[in-house]
Structures are given as C-alpha cells and as structure tokens.
C-alpha cells in the first residue's frame, strides 16, 4: 500500500527536486501546502508560472530580466566604461548592495569547472568579448568567487582581455570585516597581504 495518495506523492517528488530539499523537508512543505487556503497555495504556483513565463536572459549581459535589455544595460546614468563580471545573476545583488559600483554587469553563467565539464565554450565569454569591441569599455572588474574555479576563470579572462587594451582588475581577497586575524588561514592571509593598499 502506498504511503500517500498519488497526487501528494507527486507533490513531494516535485518538491524534492529543489536544491537542498530532502524527503522529510519535501513532506513537511507538501503537507503545509495542503493545510493552507487554496488561494495561498495557488499563489505559489501562479508565482512560479509567472516568473518562468516572463523572466529571460538579457541579450547584452545575460542577467535575469523581464525586459530585454535589462534595467542595468538600459540605464543611461550608469558608467559604461566599467563592466563587473560575475558568475551568476544572483551575484549582482551582492555588488549592488554596496551602492559603490555604478558600472555595468556581465553574467558568465558559472565558472570554469573541469569536474563538471564546464569549459570556456559553456560560459558567456564570447559576448563579453563582443561588448569590448565598441571601445567604450576601459575596465573589466572580475568578481568571480575566491575559489579554485573562480580563480582559474579570472586568470583565463585576463589573458583573453588584456591583449584588447582593456584594464582587467580582480576584486580583493582576504580577511573578512569583523573577523579575527588569529583565525585566518595562511592562504587568506597571503591574499590579504598581496592585496594591501596605501593608506
């Protein structure tokens, strides 16, 4: 005898496909959705359908957007001489939170990861090079993650872009604000020392 009615099992199976959701959590979410008002449960499915129908990739920067080109690419007040290159569209929000960067963005769609079979041809590198051909871009800020994959991607991009006469910089790596030097490992400390600046 099955544990749940077929429609409940299907709901649990679908929820289990989401990242970080296991069997127990999927069951908990499924029973929560069954318990709440019909309108509230359907609002979730409507929101998913709406987002899937309307959201696409910006043809210029590959950001997720409901208008193509996206708001960053069409905003005339933004500095067009600087492009910040990030791995995923979600990384843009982290940079925007600083309110210090007023340039444009370019989303690579991941980082070089041989273990996942992701090489340069699977990233949005070609259209980044195309954007640089106009001559208005003076600097590329590579804001990939400070991991082995992010570092390999940053160096690969710099080798590709520098010959085009565009300045390539990398976001600083090192000690997080509010942490204690005592607990920093040697690689983090080394990166912090390498990236030191004049006061």
């Amino acid at each position: 005898m099955p544990d749940f009615a077929p429609s409940v099992s299907r709901l649990i199976d679908e929820l289990k496909r989401l990242p970080g959701i296991g069997q127990k959590t999927a069951q908990r979410l499924a029973f929560y959705l069954l318990r709440v008002d019909r309108e509230q449960a359907l609002a979730l499915s409507d929101a998913i359908r709406d987002a899937k129908d309307k959201i696409r990739h910006c043809s210029v920067c590959n950001n997720l957007t409901d208008a193509d080109p996206c708001l960053f690419c069409t905003n005339s007040t933004r500095n067009r001489s600087m492009i910040c290159v990030v791995e995923e569209a979600t990384n843009i929000q982290a940079v925007e939170k600083t309110r210090q960067f007023n340039g444009l963005y370019h989303v690579l769609g991941g980082s070089l990861s041989p273990l996942q079979g992701i090489g340069p041809d699977k990233l949005n590198i070609k259209n980044l090079i195309e954007r640089l051909k106009g001559g208005t871009v003076e600097e590329i800020i590579v804001a990939t993650s400070p991991t082995a994959e992010g570092e390999a991607t940053a160096v690969y991009l710099s080798k590709l872009i520098k010959p085009l006469g565009v300045r390539v910089s990398r976001i600083a790596m090192g000690i997080p604000v509010g942490s204690d030097l005592e607990y920093a490992d040697e690689v983090t400390m080394l990166k912090a020392m390498e990236g030191r600046r004049d006061l």
Partner: protein
C-alpha cells in the same frame, strides 16, 4: 562520538544547504571519505580556504556508526595548491587528479601509496607550472596501483619481447600490449618514445624523471600519449567517461 584526526587531501567539495559544504577527502589513514563542513561557505567561516580542491590539510572530524557522512569539525592547512589553478591547462590536470582518485579508490580503505602519488603529482604541477609529465605519471601509477597495468616489455599474446624501436599495439579492453604481428582490429599504436617513457615512469621517481625527459614538444607528445593510454584503461575499469578528460582534449 570520538573526534578523529588525520592528514588528508581535499578531493572535491559541493555547496550544501544555505552555507554548508559537502566535502570529499582522501584521508591518509582512513581512505576516501565524505563529510559535511557546517557554515563553510559563509565569509567568516573558520575553514577559510582549507576546503579548496587538493588542499593538503590536517582534518578533525566526528564519525557516527549510523551516519554515512562524517561531521568535519576543524581543518588546518599544510599546503595550499590554489595558485596552481591559475593556469587553465594545470587546472584541468588537477581536476583530473581529484576525479580519478575519487573514482578508483573505494570509500574508507586507506591507501598510503595513492595518497603519496596524489600529493607528489600535485606538488610537481605547482612547482613546475607544467602538467603533461605529472599527469602521465599520475595516470600510469594509478593504473599500476590498481593492478591494471599491462606488461610494457612483452607482447601479451605471443610472449615475445617488444622491440625498443617498434611501436606496440593497445586497446583498453585487452589487458596487455601486443606486438605488430599480434595486432587485432581496433587496437591503436603506441609510439616507441611513449612506450620508453612509460617504462621510465615505472622505474623512476617523478622529480628524477623530469630531468631525464626532454622538455620539448617530443617529450610532451610522448607524455600525452601515455596519459591517453592510461586514461583509456581507467575509464574501462571504472566503466564510465571521466568528465574532466573532455576538456583536456578540447583547445582552450
């Protein structure tokens, strides 16, 4: 729940949940293991860069008999290889090191020889900035330690010694090299320089080998040929394609 301490090499790590990491590591004393490092993706994580791929670390973890995954408590860096990932070709070779080690070694079976091999090959890539010879050496010794290396001196069919200047024939499904006379359909040729390099690799340490092998295009070609042959054997044994190998063969 006692805490275990071990020297280890990080093979791979995956994002898990909100800020955790699922880490696969090769412990020197306990073999290949998997564990969860809670909060490792957060900026102020105490793990810092220690869980980056191929980091040589000292690791502390808790193990419960009923749980498949251990809980990683602390990690201290012995040697980092993050700088070696800056070169694209080297990063592919290093990815192959971790993928092959993860694929050929069973969980929780200590193999000091495989541990030393992985460490030596990774250190050589970092020190020299070149990856052809270390990759060939790593692949050949992985095959040898797995017990899959065919005789490099004699034909597996007729038993005749393989001549120094004649190419040998090879196919991953055949467990032996063959001479020209015993060649069967589907076998490919292994050039005399590649065969000679493979024999040297069996007899010499990697650091000594580097001085003896020509660092020119011919030496690199022979190393690539050995790598191809050994990766074919590994893929045949694990019964699947190596994901990183595809990038090794495609131009950057």
């Amino acid at each position: 729940m006692p805490v275990h301490e071990s020297e280890a090499i990080i093979l791979q790590s995956y994002a898990l949940g909100e800020g955790d990491r699922l880490v696969s590591f090769l412990s020197r004393t306990m073999g290949r293991m998997r564990g969860v490092a809670a909060g490792a993706r957060k900026p102020k994580s105490r793990f810092g860069s220690t869980l980056e791929r191929l980091s040589h670390v000292r690791i502390w973890y808790f193990e419960r008999e009923t749980r498949e995954l251990v809980r990683i408590n602390q990690c201290e860096m012995i040697e980092s290889f993050l700088s070696a990932f800056s070169d694209y070709a080297s990063s592919i070779a290093l990815a192959l090191f971790s993928e092959i080690t993860g694929a050929v070694l069973p969980e929780k079976e200590a193999s000091d020889a495989n541990f030393r091999l992985l460490l030596l090959a990774t250190q050589t890539v970092k020190r020299t900035g070149k990856c052809e010879l270390p990759l060939a050496y790593f692949a050949l010794w992985t095959v040898k330690l797995g017990g899959w290396l065919p005789s490099l001196d004699r034909c597996g069919q007729c038993g005749q010694a393989l001549a120094a200047n004649d190419p040998a024939c090879f196919s991953p499904s055949a467990a032996a090299l063959a001479c020209g006379k015993c060649r069967r359909p589907g076998m490919r040729l292994v050039s005399p320089p590649a065969l000679s390099l493979a024999r040297k690799m069996v007899a010499e340490r990697l650091d000594r080998l580097q001085d003896g092998v020509a660092a020119d295009a011919a030496g690199a070609r022979a190393a690539r040929e050995v790598t191809e042959m050994m990766l074919d054997i590994i893929e045949h044994q694990i019964d699947r394609k190596l994901v990183s190998r595809e990038l090794l063969e495609s131009p950057a």
